[in-house]
C-alpha cells in the first residue's frame, strides 16, 4: 500500500544517504587527520539522524520512534567523545598538518602553561 508517507520516508532516506556519502567523500579526500575527523563526525551524524527520521516516518508507531530517539541520542553523545579522543591523540603524537592549521589555540595555552610542543611533520 503505497502512501505519501512512504515517499517522504524514501526522500529522507535519500537525504541521509547523501550526507553519509558526503562524509565518506570527505574522509577520502581531506588531507590530514583533523579535517577527516571533521568530515567523519558532523555530516555522518546528521545523515544518520535523517535515516532514523525516515524509519520513524515509515513505521507509524511510538515504539519505533522511541528506539530511533535512543539511537540518535547515543550517536550524538558518543560521536564527539570518539572524535575528541582521536583528535587528542593526533595532536599529542603530532600526526596532523600543523602547517595547514589557521589557528592553534591549544599551542598558545600550552605555551602559557610552560610546555613547548612541536608537531612532527605533515603526514
Amino acid at each position: 500500500m503505497m502512501d505519501v508517507w512512504d515517499l517522504v520516508s524514501a526522500l529522507l532516506l535519500l537525504a541521509g544517504a547523501f550526507f553519509c556519502f558526503t562524509a565518506a567523500v570527505g574522509v577520502v579526500r581531506f588531507p590530514d587527520t583533523m579535517t577527516r575527523l571533521h568530515a567523519a563526525a558532523k555530516p555522518q551524524v546528521f545523515g544518520l539522524i535523517l535515516i532514523l527520521l525516515a524509519i520513524a516516518v515509515d513505521q507509524h508507531s511510538w515504539r519505533v520512534v522511541a528506539i530511533c530517539l535512543l539511537v540518535a541520542t547515543f550517536q550524538i553523545t558518543t560521536t564527539p567523545v570518539a572524535a575528541h579522543m582521536i583528535a587528542r591523540t593526533a595532536y599529542r603524537t603530532g600526526t596532523w598538518d600543523a602547517e595547514g592549521a589557521v589557528v592553534d589555540d591549544l599551542a598558545e595555552d600550552l605555551d602559557l602553561a610552560g610546555f613547548h610542543f612541536e608537531p612532527i611533520s605533515k603526514t
Binding site: T33, Q44, V45, L48, I51, Q59, R92, F115
Partner: protein, 192 residues
C-alpha cells in the same frame, strides 16, 4: 499510485547506491590511511554507514525486527576509536623521541637514524648509549635534532628512568615532558 511506487523505488535505489559508494570510499580510506587514527576514523564512518544501511533495510521491508541492531551498532561503533586512541599513546612516541635524540650524536649522520626495535634484549646497550649521548648533548646542544627548549633535553637520569620504565612497562611517569614529542621521524612511524 503506480507512478508514486516507481518514484519510491527510484529514490530508494539511489539512496542505496549512495550508501554502497560511501561504504566503498570508507573502506578505501581504511586500506590506505597513513596513520592508525585515519583508519579508526574510516572504521567509525563505516559503522555509521552500516547503521544507515540497516535503517534502509527497515524502511524497505517494513519489519522492525532489525531495530535492536541499530542500538547495538550505535553503542559499539564508538568503543573502537576510543580504545585505539587510548592505545596509541603519547608515551611510546615520547620515549622513542627521547631515545632517538639521545642516540643521534652517536651516529655519523643523524638524519638516517634507523628505527629501533622494541624488544628488551638491547636494554643495557641502549641505556649505555643514552648515557654517553646525553653527556654529549650538553656540549652540542645546537644540534638539529634538538631544536626544542630545555625541557626536551633530558638529563641522563631522566632518560634512564624513561627508557627503563618503557621497557618494564611500569606505571610511574617521570612527568617531566608530558607533551614533548621531538621532531624526529621515528615517532612518526609509531602510529602507522
Amino acid at each position: 499510485m503506480s507512478a508514486m511506487s516507481i518514484a519510491h523505488s527510484i529514490i530508494v535505489g539511489l539512496g542505496l547506491t549512495l550508501l554502497l559508494t560511501s561504504a566503498l570510499l570508507a573502506l578505501s580510506r581504511m586500506a590506505k590511511g597513513p596513520t592508525s587514527l585515519d583508519r579508526s576514523i574510516a572504521s567509525d564512518v563505516f559503522t555509521s554507514i552500516t547503521i544507515a544501511a540497516t535503517g534502509a533495510y527497515i524502511v524497505l521491508t517494513d519489519s522492525t525486527s532489525a531495530l535492536p541492531i541499530l542500538v547495538v551498532l550505535s553503542l559499539l561503533g564508538f568503543t573502537g576509536p576510543v580504545a585505539l586512541a587510548r592505545l596509541i599513546s603519547n608515551r611510546s612516541a615520547q620515549v622513542r623521541a627521547l631515545r632517538a635524540a639521545a642516540d643521534a650524536p652517536s651516529w655519523d649522520d643523524s638524519e638516517d637514524a634507523p628505527e629501533d626495535d622494541e624488544d628488551g634484549s638491547e636494554d643495557s646497550d641502549e641505556t649505555e648509549q643514552a648515557d654517553e649521548a646525553a653527556e654529549a648533548e650538553d656540549a652540542a646542544e645546537s644540534d638539529e635534532e634538538l631544536e626544542e627548549s630545555d625541557e626536551e633535553v633530558a638529563s641522563e637520569k631522566e632518560l634512564d628512568e624513561v627508557i627503563s620504565a618503557e621497557d618494564a612497562r611500569a606505571e610511574s611517569d617521570p612527568g617531566s615532558q608530558p607533551l614533548g614529542v621531538g621532531q624526529n621521524n621515528d615517532s612518526e612511524g609509531e602510529t602507522r
